[in-house]
Symmetry: D3
Subunit: 130 residues, 6 copies
């Protein structure tokens, strides 16, 4: 099994609802350093998992829809936790793969995982099939 | 599959028995930077894998039982290798999950993995089901 | 010249005023991984620059006054940039040193610097004498 | 499941053939920081996954065959991408395991994965069974 | 004293002349992760050291002149060592500051330093006044 | 001003005397990731600060005198703190420079600094002239 990962980041504001979140119920924010991993069983004819330039560009495009925003407005009444955002980004990447934005070869990808680092001591991931 | 990871560390002394360990048969020590990962299939009603504050607190509690100690005394006649310690910590975390220390929602966790970084060029992991 | 550095972090919301900030004029947020460095010419009688436990505790106390907050409310009409926040934290640490919160030996410190990492690709520092 | 990882690096020149590679079709180069991970189900009688000194030495030996070289000469008419090189290194490590270079205990290893970091924002992996 | 740092990278081929370089006399390559630091005594009216977006863009422009190239052709008969390249990049950034490419406020900068990381175990820097 | 840094590590046991050290008064240990930085004003005729291979070898030799040891035996009645060890290593490197172990060109070095990382959240440095 092969994989390729690209890294980018976004900076957002949000707050959480529920006593489990303690002081994070207040409006605060985060830098999320985002790693997007693409998997496949065999390399394509160019010997790559994916066009890494296209992968980085699509990740940046998806993050720019969220970057420098208050997620309480983007996703009203949702707890936009690190793990939940990992799924949002993974699903949007998956959609771009299946609609061809990453090229025809990318349709041989078998899985995507996304990790969001919220600090030097905490991160969360979501992994899915394609 | 979702996961959340928290990081902490401990600083211990120990020695190893067996020629394979070379100079590490002498009493020496290590800083272990410890990453504990919790996995589950679906998020709970708060949109989290686990109460991350509780996870960090339980990891710190487990590490404080080992921190600033000579493991040759804590675990007599055992080679307290990095990989073996990863299992000790993972099993202790699993015990706390199953006894409810991490809250009722944590009982839906499906797995735990623990990675101990012993330097910038070596680390070891143990992964188990719950 | 000796120095000791401790690291912690905070997660805040804020926005900037001024066209130079582009999309960062919108309400957004950041995780700041904060490194606080203490300098002195000679070690004290315990062979340390500072009580590292006290240094970490004071840094955490200063960050907890800012953590999980909207800095637009904490510092109205101020652009709370990374470099400006580095000075706020350095000055607060300096105040604690001079008022004795870090112990009598800490009064021999000659300087403090604070670095705030806002992402994996950008950080800012402020350095001052004591 | 247990694993142990060791890290080393190599510095190579190469170029790629195919329009998908854009400016990387020109002769350029890379530092690859290489992580080699060894997996097994149970620890051996010394409580280790592998003799970590032997693992590091074998990884260094494999990398030294590639280090400070122009891969366009070593592997003519091949796109020596990061993901393809991960497989080359993993397969060479697997060969050394199966021929006994890592000791008799290493024959209980169940898998190897190799990750090559080509920058702070991109890396690739190959994972295989033993 | 304030500073702001931005990070980017480039991937180049080169070789060295001189027995001190050993196997690095062969054509090889490197990924250089490049940190550019800008210093000034007081913040400008926006509370920044520099327009960080402009700084990142200028660094990227300077690196793109070197990226994906064989430096043996770009700088014939020069040992393009990590430390020497740090000076090249710092001097080019300084030129852009003094010619106004980073805006009028940037003319109050007092110094620039550039660090090139050639691997996880080696890096080099050049620091200069403005 | 130019500098070059090389990184290595050591794993030691020790304990501290003095109530300021709290639980670290017990026998424990640490991995120290050690960065040694060499400075000079102008590059030598090879365009380097120092023979980086020789620098790495000398650092490794100095660390191997301390590695896998109980520093309570090596330095009886001394608090072998991180900052104090930074000075020990810097002074030993300086001695090797002045006695010619790093070659004749190294005698133009103007300074050395050594940083010891004791964990992901704490490190200490010592800087000296040559």
């Amino acid at each position: 099994m092969f994989s390729v990962t690209v890294r980018d980041h976004m900076m957002i504001a949000h707050s959480f609802q529920g006593v489990v979140f303690g002081p994070a119920q207040r409006l605060h924010g985060a830098t999320f350093v985002v790693d997007a991993t693409f998997r496949r069983t065999e390399l394509d004819q160019d010997n790559v998992v994916i066009d890494i330039g296209a992968a980085a560009a699509e990740l940046k495009a998806i993050l720019s829809d969220l970057n420098y925003r208050n997620l309480d407005e983007e996703f009203a009444d949702v707890n936009t936790t690190t793990e939940w955002l990992a799924k949002v980004i993974a699903d949007r990447l998956a959609h771009r793969v299946t609609t061809g934005a990453l090229g025809p070869s990318a349709r041989s990808l078998t899985g995507i995982s996304v990790t969001l680092h919220e600090s030097h001591v905490a991160w969360a991931s979501y992994e899915r099939a394609l």
